[in-house]
Subunit: 133 residues, 3 copies
């Protein structure tokens, strides 16, 4: 079973959680030194994105922009009250990929991997799989 399942608990209704450290740990434990690492979120009201990990205000601005595009307070057909979260999930996407060379993630200087919580707080699973090559 190459797929690893990580678990994260979010503490806000909408949040970008930096999970780069845990992904790096998973890569190290795999022993893979060359390939492509993929991350997948098996939820429909959460997503994954790669963006700046320095100034936390970037994450706030991204969440605010998504909220303006799909307001959590707007009227939707779906009766559970979380349609905005489903919309945001499709906008950012359900997976990200990073290349691996010499056992390291080939991320840019300012890049981090973020679990995007759009309907929290909750405990969320994140799947990681590394294709060696």
């Amino acid at each position: 079973m190459r797929t690893q399942t990580l678990s994260f608990t979010t503490d806000q209704s909408q949040q970008m959680l930096d999970i780069t450290g845990e992904i790096r740990k998973t890569l190290k434990e795999s022993g893979v030194t060359s390939g492509v690492l993929s991350v997948f979120v098996p939820h429909t009201t959460a997503g994954l994105t790669i963006n700046e990990n320095a100034d936390p205000n970037v994450r706030k601005d991204i969440l605010s922009a998504l909220e303006a595009m799909a307001p959590s307070t707007a009227a939707y057909l779906h009766a559970e009250g979380n349609s905005h979260a489903h919309i945001k999930a499709s906008l950012v996407g359900s997976s990200v990929r990073v290349f691996v060379e010499t056992g390291q993630l080939m991320l840019g200087t300012w890049q981090g991997i973020f679990l995007c919580e759009f309907d929290g707080p909750r405990t969320r699973n994140v799947l990681v799989r590394i294709t060696p090559s």
Copy 2:
């Protein structure tokens, strides 16, 4: 030739078509039990996304939100009248990936794979490729 080509006919101008069953069938026929399955749409006015496959209203809400972001009735430079569809295609993206373990797609309980038609109705191709590992 590892790439399989599936064909789907949409019957609305904008539509999210659940293609999970056909993708599962393609996986089964491949005989691959472990790896990453990728789906790609070779069109520029259609996309792919993973989202809820239970309440059909979720799909309607997602399409309505995309329509609010890029109205099909707005004025655009591109003279063919389908710029809104190109914009939506880049917002949801041209490919999705799902992990495979013991011959099964590692989708979450509520997740389905959707072909997003933004300029239909049309017959659309969807490419599937499975990288074993």
Copy 3:
């Protein structure tokens, strides 16, 4: 080292640069005839998308729509003045994938691969990795 690094110089603040030719050249030089080619941008104010490569107005319409969603002139918390670019980067995404068969990219007739510059002009790196299978 399977990862190839390409370099592109953009000449506008916001721009969709067609990099399909350079990607094709990288594929040819790799000698890989069957697999999945992935492209990744190691920057947080640029992205990658696949869309129409025929009428340049499509690109202008996509950039205009993204600008309407995240205006470069709006007020944001992030003090560097480029939050709009971070937001757009997460909307289009940091990577794209194309299948490879008989040494060719399996792109649709009208599809091209675009580096999306959201905070230029700049010199940008684009990483390419091909997983044979």
